[in-house]
Symmetry: C3
Subunit: 328 residues, 3 copies
Amino acid sequence: MHFLDGTEPGRDGLLALAERALDLRGGAAPRRRDGLRLAAVFLNPSLRTRTSLEAACGMLGIQSIVLQPGKDAWALELGQGAVMDGLAAEHVRDAVSVLGGYVDLLAVRSFAGLLDPEEDRADRVLAAFVRHGGRPVINLESARWHPLQGLADTATWLAHLGPDLAGKRLALTWAPHSKALPAAVANQVLLSAALAGMDVTVAHPEGFDLDPEVLDRAAAHAPVRVVHDQAEGLAGAQVVVAKSWSGFSGYGRRAEEAAARAALSGWQVTPDTLGVTDGAGFMHCLPVRRNVVVSDAVIDSPSSWVQEEANNRLWTALAVLEHLAAGL
Amino acid sequence: MHFLDGTEPGRDGLLALAERALDLRGGAAPRRRDGLRLAAVFLNPSLRTRTSLEAACGMLGIQSIVLQPGKDAWALELGQGAVMDGLAAEHVRDAVSVLGGYVDLLAVRSFAGLLDPEEDRADRVLAAFVRHGGRPVINLESARWHPLQGLADTATWLAHLGPDLAGKRLALTWAPHSKALPAAVANQVLLSAALAGMDVTVAHPEGFDLDPEVLDRAAAHAPVRVVHDQAEGLAGAQVVVAKSWSGFSGYGRRAEEAAARAALSGWQVTPDTLGVTDGAGFMHCLPVRRNVVVSDAVIDSPSSWVQEEANNRLWTALAVLEHLAAGL
Amino acid sequence: MHFLDGTEPGRDGLLALAERALDLRGGAAPRRRDGLRLAAVFLNPSLRTRTSLEAACGMLGIQSIVLQPGKDAWALELGQGAVMDGLAAEHVRDAVSVLGGYVDLLAVRSFAGLLDPEEDRADRVLAAFVRHGGRPVINLESARWHPLQGLADTATWLAHLGPDLAGKRLALTWAPHSKALPAAVANQVLLSAALAGMDVTVAHPEGFDLDPEVLDRAAAHAPVRVVHDQAEGLAGAQVVVAKSWSGFSGYGRRAEEAAARAALSGWQVTPDTLGVTDGAGFMHCLPVRRNVVVSDAVIDSPSSWVQEEANNRLWTALAVLEHLAAGL
């Protein structure tokens, strides 16, 4: 039993976890599991994910041990059968097997490399944790997914839109950024919203497309529409989620994409942008580049759900840990 | 209720905290607060501050979570209204708001930049924690202050000079160093000693002046004298505190200051230096450049209180945590 | 009472610790020591050592605080009487004295520099912890020794070869690597095996010799033979331990050694290599360069004890902590 893309518990299970998170937020007592141990491996920076995970572990009596390969632990080799005469001192399969022997739960963050689409689709670090760890694995954001974020978003939707999310209108809009970013959060919003039965519109400029496989997976659960005009995409939305990402078809031509991105500052979410919505709440996973992705006037306004969304990370991490620990 | 410059509890409150620290050192039982959580954010290195804080948290049952933005967490933007198209991925106000939602207490270290006096006076990182955190904030050394050090020093003075510090003679001497250093510790010694009613002399070479605002604040509590001759400053002192700092009037001319500093190795504290004192104890906050700031013969002598001073950091951190937790 | 080279408890004490580790592995209840604190200082990367130590601390209720001087804490000066006008901000004796005042147990990792044989023999960082810490010190791998690894290996031998290790045949073979590596693990295997009474053969190419002092120490306990032919060394072995190391006589001529090493890929441990043994188990301390040191076909085979060896690190760390804590 893992938590890799957030769909593992199924639609009902996922909604139950989000409701549980809201109960915990409201003061319900966490189901402690003193004596368990979790190893959390970060190949990329983290503020919310690590802090909320460690805090949730503390609330449950679970010891959390954080490792950063390449910084405090050995740099990892991923290649199957590799002749390890390069920089990496340890194969991920050995590292993961060992950690699995020391702890009860594993967690890992490993962002997309953005160099090779099949490599990112394979999500090899996460896959190695599943294959070699022998323990439940929590995905702390992989090349493709960020399920703890998706669950926090789901809890936020439930808190604002009520228990029946079916047919509620969510718009996911691409936003400007000075760097090429992975699409994991965008993929996850799409999948989590569709799984919850929401009516989803994705708005992005031409060339900043999401992986068609991900779109297909989402579309199997609920209506998903893609448009290339932001105002069209946001019209009538009850929730607007902003995120920058690099195009799935842009692998191999990042320089060209960067040039295109430089001309797209008009996609910044401002109060005007939100004028076409149905009084939508504004969401972003953070960290956010203020006045690039979204203006201060939006993120600091009463219609911003951003702080609540981030705060829900604590309660959803707690709910997921309770859930996985219950299976041990 | 914060602990930003150490004056928040007032003179009596501060002395009571120092006395409480000595009681804890003597074996008094800490007042545990199991279930609380603290996030400690370090923008600069730390040995004593982090270790004593984490140890004190452990003694109280408080979970401590340490973050290092730019290393394990996102680099922070400080500018109000900034267009975040530079290196920083997250605005401090967002980071702090989020952390405040995950924990009960916040703590932060952010040294002076030494580039702009008004910037350092503004202590913007610390101020952002206070403004956006919604939790008691402990200053782990900011651009201007190091109140946990000041309290440990106060406890050390009480242990050696007795419960009535009024009129006791403390000399704070500038000392040589190969680098330009912030004045936060010097400011704090001055303020803490003055608040305790001690008779304070500051000795420093011309051009290595402290911020006149800080001198004025200290002088409002007790006699403060500034001299430019080390022997004159140390004559008759019961306590000598050594520290290197860069001059407040030296902002903008650091190269010139470095040249001046190179000619000031005679300010190193040696056994001879202490000959003019009234058998003074020697103090330094550590880390210390041995045989640059102070000779081995002083720091390793029986008149060195340096190790006790550092050890008191544990007990004063414990007292401050008890104090702030009592307000929750 | 320290744990520096693993011989401190004596032969019987060491075997008893290894047996205790196996009991703990089998489900025996750890002897908790809630309220103790340990500071673990890492000057080099770690995966197994830190994770197993922190996990073992958690199982005993001991708070573990991890420091990385030069990364999160101040870079350390080692020189006695040094004039500290270089990069290091803090002398190791001050750092260690302070840490010893905050915690009950100290632990430190500091690899060999491989530049000066006498410097590495002196094991100065470890020695500073012993001299200035005032607390039991656990060596987490020093220039010369890795006693927690040695104890985990001993537990693995006991588990596979039975309680009487006297006369059991262990071969320690040098292995190829792209970098010059310290000999600490090789030294430790040799010493631990000899102390347990095993019949030890060391096989290494000419020029890749171990420190004669270490060989002499081992030979005082049990038969130790050195050969320069791998097949000769492994013939009849019941355990094969592989490790790369740089030659003790190679200090000062590492470039020459690197050239020699490049021609020694034939020392890689493969299924063929093990054909001459008595069905030996294969061991390596990890991290291991797969298909350089050892082929996948060996390390992933049923005769590989590598994962068990790594897993025993948890239980032996637990046994050592119990043992040292019992003396407090």
